[in-house]
């Protein structure tokens, strides 16, 4: 096969079910293709990715991922090949569309890797079932149905319980388990809407059976191997992305395993997969019955996990297979043999999901067939207990108190593992828990052993032998400390005095059989330490752990970039992280990788083993910066901003004093204790205020509070205010512009990475705001003041490396909101927008190099768009506020604001209505703006619908159809507002929530219904205004598509 130019499609913004794993696989694929002399054109709308770095591909496009845009890119670049199996379901679906629209044929682009026929056979349930029947491989009885009637009939025929799954969706979106007709109906309704093909599969439920996954690779010569098998701790009924997963499988005999392996290989051969593939099985361990659940004919989250679990670079090998190479002809860089072997593990890997429920009060915490988790932590140990405990510790979570274990056991919630532990502590037996959860007793027995060890340690106290035993089981010092009533520090000292220190083992893919050169380690308490040697000046980079809302791929981007920068500087980079999805945990990214939890103990142990010259904590988000203090106390050289600087920035009193000293204005603010104190402080400051509890119950975070009554309610319901747990109260600046700066400083000079402005008014979390560079509404004078203040603050805080400062601007005045002496979420966006490698600059600054007092000029517009998980988290309100809710970001680029903004929205899934109807439902304050929006929309020929109150206000702009209030009696031909949204007539919903909208309000229902119907719903009046303005300005104009670097040039 002769491929010269290949187009690689990325997976777009991070959403639940599609995360950083595709940056990892896509980047590996790009590297592999270029190694073979292929020119790579990469398209992705997500700027926070290593794959969109100019070093990764020959040509990079940061553009929306849709057919018209891809067609334009293909027209311009004329690739001869398309690789679509590296960008998740997004890329796969786009390849199918491009083929369907004849684009591939028109431009003579060949799809390389697994072909379309295979993809269709794997994804179309009917074709897949027929294929399995032909192969004699069992499947769960099921039917593909096209409407409610067919769906219900199918369920009757199969017999309840059933599982319903929409075809071609991501992460099981819209799927669900139903034990009766009443449960099935709502699932079907949602499912038909979500499925790309309008089909929902109804399948017999295998609830409670074992679930296994096989990661397979096949090449064009029909060689096929299994890279890894994995066993779900949580049996069938819980999506594999929501399950605790263990590799390799633990409870299969060789005969069981070979049966599944044979089936997996048969399937990939029959499908003619060329590349990676994931096969999921159910396995009834009581009868030995098995069958296939589904096949993913592409790289997946599981393949990333399998790569990290085994050390086998699946994406790299799959990319070479796509070029026609065969396994025996691909070099395995680890063992210096070929890629044609099946890894042997000599450790146990456990993956545990990270859920975002604390961000969404009132949301449904049950886990099931639909993904709700945003990320995952992985851990490696020599026993299951050790890897499980390390994985749990890696979640960066305070162990939750479980009052009633049975509430979490079944149906399971995100807290199930903690509930099982608690139940065992209270004396439950394995059989009892098994009966409730159907979890394999082997696993339960191990979990129970952990609680037995807890009891032993609690009874025995701090003794060397017992401590060694507990450490070998994976207990942390802190955990032992809690059991024996000692501080973590005391346990640590005792442990070291007794010579109980971890050994580091290599992940080598071959269980020690060959001399391997992977610098990839994990800790355990055994004899031989393999992480020795490694000369040169070493720098340890602390990663950011599992992806969660507020700490996403952006930080992994920074850490990966730092590792590469350190290598370029001739230093040895050592990475510690525990997120299997990411680039930073590719053992290729750094000189040494420690796959370890990001706790003080685990990091300090690595420091003691390696003796690095310095440790970088400011790139991994809050997780890593939180470690700074403990490390410094233990004499570690933390590079960059000193702990005093960090402390001033984080301590509100000290920060206020600093601002006061230099006449930097802050919104009025106070720290209050007790309900009375909070009420008093708020009334002094004047409502509205932003309230931030320092201790949170039920995950309730920041909120804007408008009145004393609300304050009382807020404090009463959600916040524990006591002397030790104060609330922080800030004046909320109404209608202020918010802007932020990412800068790099050497504590004297400061390079301003860029001054960005939010499209929304202040009050929307910066992670959730659409952000523009250059700024939109700021005068030269104001920009000058921002620069001056930024430089002053960087100097005063002694910033070495990154600082992110957020400002508000109102009435020509500048207010300081906060300063964070660390890399922020916007660093990758800004680097991509300006072309300046800010991370490298920051790393150099941390290591003592000088920084220039300058700033890049930007002659085009770059807008950050955001995506939200509202569809997946049922019961969550989609309105925005000071608490971050988004999972991912996009970037739109253009010569003017409007075109860049529209692209950013488009890339975030806000499709641009060409015509049809718009529904407006606005709070009072927004109705003035609503008039202008309505006028513009009507001018463009849109039909306008409005809720009654809003409608009255808007009639002066245009002819408005007033929808009936919800539940109001409708005449023939009339619809109430929810029916209107469901009817499909409305293309866009603008709903701005009232100040204290709760989940019973009409607005909440309007927003949920739009999300569930897949209709873009804008909840911020500024977003809507700018959106409509941009639509008006660009009407009839085709957005242009350019390479990254061509804009503004």
């Amino acid at each position: 096969m002769d491929v010269k130019r290949a187009l690689v499609i990325g997976s777009g913004p991070i959403v639940i079910g599609q995360s950083a794993e595709f940056d990892y696989s896509g980047t590996q694929a790009c590297k592999a293709l270029r190694e073979e002399g292929v020119e790579v054109i990469l398209v992705n709308s997500n700027p926070a990715t290593i794959q969109t770095d100019r070093e990764t591909a020959d040509v990079v496009y940061i553009e929306p991922l849709d057919v018209p845009t891809l067609k334009k890119i293909i027209q311009r670049e004329r690739p001869d090949a398309l690789l679509a199996t590296m960008g998740g379901q997004t890329a796969l679906n786009l390849a199918i569309e491009l083929d369907k629209w004849g684009v591939l044929e028109q431009y003579n682009v060949r799809l390389i890797g697994t072909g379309l026929e295979a993809i269709e056979k794997a994804e179309s349930r009917e074709k897949f079932n027929a294929l399995m029947e032909g192969l004699g491989i069992p499947i769960l009885p099921g039917f593909c149905t096209k409407n409610m009637k067919e769906g219900l009939e199918a369920a009757e025929r199969i017999g309840y319980p059933v599982v319903a799954r929409p075809a071609y969706t991501l992460g099981g979106t819209g799927g669900g388990f139903a034990s009766c007709r009443e449960e099935l109906e709502p699932i079907l309704e949602k499912g038909f809407m979500l499925s790309r093909s309008g089909e929902v599969l109804i399948e017999k439920s295998a609830l409670g059976w074992g679930e296994f996954e096989y990661e397979v690779i096949r090449d064009s010569a029909d060689n096929a191997i299994v890279i890894c098998n994995m066993e779900n701790f949580d049996p069938m009924g819980v999506h594999t992305g929501e399950s605790i997963v263990v590799a390799p499988a633990q409870t299969l005999s060789d005969r069981d395993h070979q049966m599944l392996r044979d089936a997996a290989l048969k399937i990939v051969r029959a499908l003619k997969i060329e590349g990676g593939c994931n096969v999921q099985f159910y396995f009834n361990q009581e009868t030995g019955q098995y069958g296939v659940i589904e096949v993913n004919p592409r790289l997946s989250r599981s393949s990333a996990l399998a790569s990290k679990a085994t050390g086998y670079p699946i994406a790299r090998v799959a990319a070479k297979i796509a070029l026609g190479k065969t396994l025996d002809g691909i070099r395995n860089p680890i063992t210096n043999t070929t890629a044609a072997f099946e890894p042997a593990l000599d450790y146990v890997v456990t993956k545990i999901p990270k859920w975002p429920f604390e961000k969404f009060r009132g949301s449904d915490r049950r886990i099931g067939t639909q993904m709700k988790s945003t990320g995952e932590a992985m851990a490696i140990g020599r026993t299951f207990e050790e890897s499980l405990l390390k994985a749990i510790r890696g979640l960066d979570l305070k162990e939750p108190k479980i009052e009633k274990p049975e509430e979490h056991l079944f149906p399971p919630t995100d807290l199930r593992i903690f509930a099982i532990l608690e139940a065992f502590r209270r004396g439950a037996g394995v059989e009892e828990i098994r009966a409730k959860t159907r979890i394999n007793p082997w696993f339960l027995g191990k979990v129970r052993k952990i609680t037995e060890m807890e009891k032993k340690v609690a009874a025995g106290g701090l003794k060397a032998d017992l401590l060694r035993e507990a450490k070998r089981m994976g207990f942390s010092d802190a955990q032992v400390g809690r059991l024996v009533g000692k501080k973590e520090k005391e346990v640590r000292e005792f442990r070291k005095e007794n010579g109980i220190i971890p050994a580091y083992k290599i992940v080598d893919s071959c269980a020690g059989e060959f001399e391997a050169i992977t610098p990839y380690f994990y800790s355990t308490y055994e004899d031989e330490n393999e992480a020795v040697g490694g000369e040169g000046k070493k720098i340890l980079v602390i990663g950011s752990g599992p992806i969660r809302i507020g700490q996403g791929i952006e930080f992994d981007y920074c850490c990966s970039q730092a590792a590469m920068a350190l290598r370029r500087m001739g230093l040895r980079s050592i990475m510690v992280n525990n997120n299997p999805e990411t680039m930073s945990t590719d053992f290729d990214s750094s000189d040494r990788l420690y796959f370890e939890p990001l706790t003080f103990e685990d990091v300090m142990n690595i420091v003691e083993n390696e003796g690095p010259e310095g440790v970088i904590v400011q790139l991994g988000g809050q997780t890593s910066i939180n470690l700074a203090e403990g490390l410094v106390e233990n004499g570690v050289n933390v590079l960059g901003t000193g702990v005093e600087g960090i402390d001033i920035a984080e301590d509100r009193e000290k920060f206020r004093a600093l601002c006061g000293k230099f006449g930097i204005r802050q919104p009025l603010n106070a720290t209050a204790t007790g309900k009375e104190g909070a009420l008093k402080a708020a009334s002094e400051i004047g409502y509205p205020v932003v309230v931030r509890p320092s201790y949170v119950i039920a995950g309730r975070g920041m909120q804007i509070v408008f009145s004393p009554e609300e304050m009382e309610k807020f404090i009463g319901q959600a916040v524990d205010v006591s002397e030790n747990r104060p609330v922080l109260i800030d004046k909320y600046l109404d209608n202020a512009f918010e802007c932020e700066v990412d800068a790099v400083s050497d504590s004297e000079n400061t390079y301003i990475g860029g001054i960005m402005e939010h499209v929304e008014f202040a009050g929307v979390h910066s992670g959730d705001a659409n952000i523009s560079i250059p700024s939109l509404n700021l005068s030269e004078k104001m920009l000058g003041k921002i620069r001056e203040t930024t430089r002053l603050l960087a100097r005063e805080l002694g910033v070495k490396g990154f600082v992110n400062i957020q400002y508000a601007v109102r009435g020509g005045e500048l207010f300081m909101i906060e300063a964070n002496p660390r890399a922020s979420r916007t660093v990758p966006f800004l680097s991509k927008a300006t072309g300046v490698p800010l991370v490298e600059m920051a790393v150099r600054a941390m290591l003592g190099e000088k920084v220039e007092n300058s700033e890049p000029s930007v002659t085009h517009y770059a807008i950050k768009g955001v995506v939200f998980p509202f569809l997946k988290i049922s019961g969550a309100d989609i309105s925005l506020g000071p608490e971050m809710k988004s999972t991912g970001e996009t970037m739109g680029l253009g010569g003017d604001f409007e075109s860049a903004y529209l692209k950013a929205l488009q890339a975030s899934g806000i499709s641009l209505p060409k015509g049809g109807a718009v529904l407006l439902s606005l709070r009072k304050e927004d109705r003035e703006d609503g008039v202008e929006i309505t006028r513009k929309l009507a001018g463009m020929g849109f039909e306008i619908y409005a809720t009654p109150g809003t409608g009255v206000a808007l009639t002066r702009a245009a002819n408005v159809n007033v929808a009936k209030r919800m539940g109001e009696k409708c005449e023939q031909g009339e619809m109430d507002v929810l029916q209107l949204i469901s009817s499909g007539e409305v293309q866009l919903v603008v709903n701005t929530p009232t100040k204290s909208g709760n989940s019973f309000s009409d607005g909440f229902k309007i927003r949920r219904r739009s999300i569930e119907k897949g209709i873009p719903c804008v909840t911020n009046i500024r977003t809507a205004m700018e959106f409509v303005k941009a639509l008006e300005k660009l009407r009839g104009r085709e957005p242009e598509v350019r390479r990254l670097g061509e804009y503004g040039g």
Partner: protein
């Protein structure tokens, strides 16, 4: 488990302490490692492990217990068993007992809690080496540690003493299996294809075997050094007129019989993930292997058609004119992948 201690002493001076498993006794043997992640029951009962103390590189052993099905012979052949963790409890629909009681039943000592990865790396560096494994209560008894693997005829012990018949109802062909310590799965694979099996002891003569009027000969796997089995070599030579299939030790004996030679590998191939490249088909198969020796000089009349991808050892050879072929690995799997099972079909066609 629990109170008993165990010690593994290596000939190079290495000492590993751990908890005792199985029988409270002391055994000597050659220390080897296997990288399969499942299949410990099949491995322990594989006669080819005669004379060896087996270390599993995978740390959790015994998770699914031991059943009444997966016996490759009627007993455990390994001299001792070394693991990181032995699962006390197990859960499997076929499970009949746990690992500890299985070892005890067959009088075999085991040790757990050992840094098996360190042990594997030691074997990788220094090669397989003699060791003693003792499980004891109170004080270690110790004893003679001298052990010379190649001086012992393990085949004599592992081979059945009598002729045994395994004839399926619909048998259409008949094969003599020269039992050098054959795994049951070999017989099962033949029977599955309606091939009747007459299994004969290792020291049977060609004449004795021909007396059964077989359609072909299968020379089985087994323990020990192929070079010392000179009577087997000569029997094979005399049987060269018949279709012949050699597996593992059988393959090595065929090499000797036709003028080739074998040599001892540093630490052998033991695992279920060995890639074998077939130069005629241009294909890779993943195979189960368990051998410490390999064919060094290929007999003149033979062509090598498969090699191990990692170290290029001879994996399959066939006679250039006669229907004789042999493989170094285990096409009968058990434990391990079924990629090479088709070789039995191939043999059937030759009959």
């Amino acid at each position: 488990m629990g109170a008993r201690k165990a010690v593994l002493r290596l000939a190079d001076g290495g000492v590993f302490f751990g908890e005792g498993l199985g029988a409270s006794t002391r055994r000597v043997g050659e220390l080897v490692f296997n990288t399969s992640m499942q299949g410990y029951q099949e491995a322990l009962t594989d006669p080819s492990y005669g004379g060896q103390v087996l270390t599993m590189s995978y740390p959790l052993i015994g998770n699914y217990g031991v059943n009444n099905v997966d016996f490759e012979s009627p007993r455990i052949w390994a001299e001792g068993f070394v693991v990181r963790e032995a699962s006390e409890s197990f859960f499997h629909r076929e499970g009949a007992r746990n690992l500890d009681s299985f070892l005890a039943k067959y009088g075999v000592p085991g040790i757990c809690g050992v840094d098996t990865r360190a042990l594997v790396k030691r074997i990788r560096k220094h090669g397989v080496l003699p060791c003693s494994l003792e499980v004891f209560e109170g004080a270690e008894k110790g004893g003679d540690a001298s052990f010379e693997y190649s001086s012992v005829n393990f085949v004599e012990k592992a081979s059945s003493k009598n002729v045994e018949r395994f004839i399926p109802e619909k048998a259409e062909k008949m094969v003599v299996v020269l039992d050098l310590g054959a795994k049951r799965s070999i017989v099962k694979e033949l029977n599955k294809r309606n091939i009747g099996v007459v299994s004969v002891p290792w020291n049977s003569t060609a004449k004795e075997m021909l007396a059964f009027e077989p359609d072909g000969i299968l020379v089985s796997n087994g323990p020990g050094d192929p070079a010392i089995l000179t009577n087997v070599h000569s029997a094979i030579r005399e049987l060269a007129g018949l279709p012949m299939f050699g597996i593992c030790l059988g393959h090595q004996c065929i090499a000797h019989a036709f003028g080739g030679s074998t040599s001892k590998l540093k630490f052998g191939h033991r695992g279920s993930n060995h890639p074998v490249y077939d130069s005629e088909k241009g294909r890779v198969f993943i195979t189960t292997q368990n051998h410490g020796f390999a064919v060094e000089r290929v007999p003149d009349e033979f062509v090598v058609t498969q090699v191990e991808l990692n170290d290029k050892t001879v994996e399959r050879m066939r006679h250039s004119s006669k229907p004789i072929f042999s493989v170094q690995y285990h096409p009968e799997a058990s434990p391990g992948p079924h990629d090479a099972c088709f070789l039995f079909d191939h043999f059937l066609k030759a009959l």
